[in-house]
């Protein structure tokens, strides 16, 4: 089954989907890096990604940097008594053997001070800083404003 999916992926890879690439940093697998298109550059952009820690040591995402925004930061959407707010997240735990998602409605990268409008189909690099594993650059694919995530064949 795995090889079937793999060969299907290989044949379909003529038009690679950036958000479906996996980047490895030590024991960490980083995939599904995506963002939403913005109307203009005044509004903040958003950054989502999925991080899997295959190692035996807990790690944490402690910061993001990108040339696409002057003030990128980590946030968490919290709903308390039905009211949504977005406090800063000082660090996002990536425990050993677990996956953590920056995804709609939860943790997200908040890209304040965009240097340019994010248009669907664009991509931009984001440097992720981890407490233990160090830094890695991922390419972020800009999906439509309506997107809820990338369509990857490996997603389940």
């Amino acid at each position: 089954m795995k090889s079937l999916i793999l060969s299907a992926l290989l044949t379909l890879s003529a038009a690679p989907v950036l958000a479906c690439e996996t980047v490895t940093l030590g024991d960490l697998n980083i995939e599904h890096a995506w963002s939403r298109a913005t109307i203009g550059a005044d509004r903040p952009g958003v950054f989502y990604v999925e991080i899997t820690n295959n190692g035996s040591t807990d790690d944490a995402l402690i910061g993001i940097a990108t040339p696409a925004a002057g003030m990128p930061m980590l946030h968490e959407t919290v709903v308390t008594d039905g009211v949504a707010s977005m406090p800063h997240a000082m660090s996002i735990p990536v425990p050993a053997g677990e996956s953590v998602e920056l995804a709609p409605g939860g943790y997200h990268g908040m890209l304040m001070g965009l240097t340019a409008t994010l248009a669907e189909g664009d991509s931009f690099p984001v440097t992720l800083s981890f407490q233990k594993s160090g830094e890695v650059v991922v390419n972020v694919e800009v999906l439509s404003l309506r997107a809820e995530g990338p369509d990857c064949d490996d997603a389940n």
Binding site: T80, D81, G82, G105
Partner: protein
């Protein structure tokens, strides 16, 4: 929706509250009612004068006769609001022509930035049956009060963001409050709740 299931834990407490408000109320009709103060007013008892993204005046009385699906947000919001609008667009798509009878409104809690034109540009990305509402801060406050919703302007990094009620409110055609679709609620509950106000 794998993403939603993963974050269910986060919204667990508020989810439970909205679930009680929504489904629980239906199940307990005829028995003990929850304190009235917690529930949105019937639309007929609300009072506000707003303008939609096409520039037309909107008053609550205009909504009587059609079931209403309403929610609050602001277009500078990168996470919650596009996700809710995307969910709602998906629900309207799944309901198909049935949803044409639904009065679906997005009420901004940030009228300072969300002018009629800003709302129009933003909503062009979503289902065209969603109507955006803006107006003076005082009228937005009146609308929010009628829904027993809340919002707050929060200074942030030299700018500001808005905390706001994230649930989707459903009302029957006669204006009676029906239920809330909580932000973190499993998507499978949403369509049955909407269908209930459409019947």
């Amino acid at each position: 929706m794998r993403r939603r299931q993963l974050i269910l834990g986060l919204g667990g407490a508020s989810g439970a509250l909205a679930f009680t408000l929504g489904l629980g109320w239906w199940q307990s009709r005829g028995r003990a009612q929850p304190p009235a103060a917690l529930l949105p007013l019937p639309i007929g008892e609300m009072g506000f004068a707003l303008t939609n993204h096409r520039g037309e005046p909107v008053r609550p009385a205009d909504w009587i006769g059609r079931p209403t699906m309403a929610f609050f947000g602001f277009t500078w919001c990168p996470d919650v609001c596009p996700t809710t609008l995307s969910d709602i667009s998906g629900w309207l798509g799944e309901l198909g022509p049935d949803a044409d009878r639904l009065n679906t409104v997005f009420i901004t809690v940030d009228p300072e930035r969300d002018t009629q034109q800003v709302l129009a540009d933003y909503l062009a990305n979503f289902d065209p049956r969603i109507t955006g509402l803006t107006g003076s801060l005082a009228e937005v406050e009146r609308a929010v009060a009628g829904f027993r919703a809340r919002f707050e302007k929060v200074p942030r990094d030299g700018d500001y963001t808005m905390d706001h009620t994230a649930g989707v409110f459903l009302f029957r055609a006669d204006g009676r409050f029906a239920s809330i679709i909580d932000y973190h609620e499993d998507r499978r509950f949403a369509l049955p709740k909407i269908r209930r106000v459409l019947t």
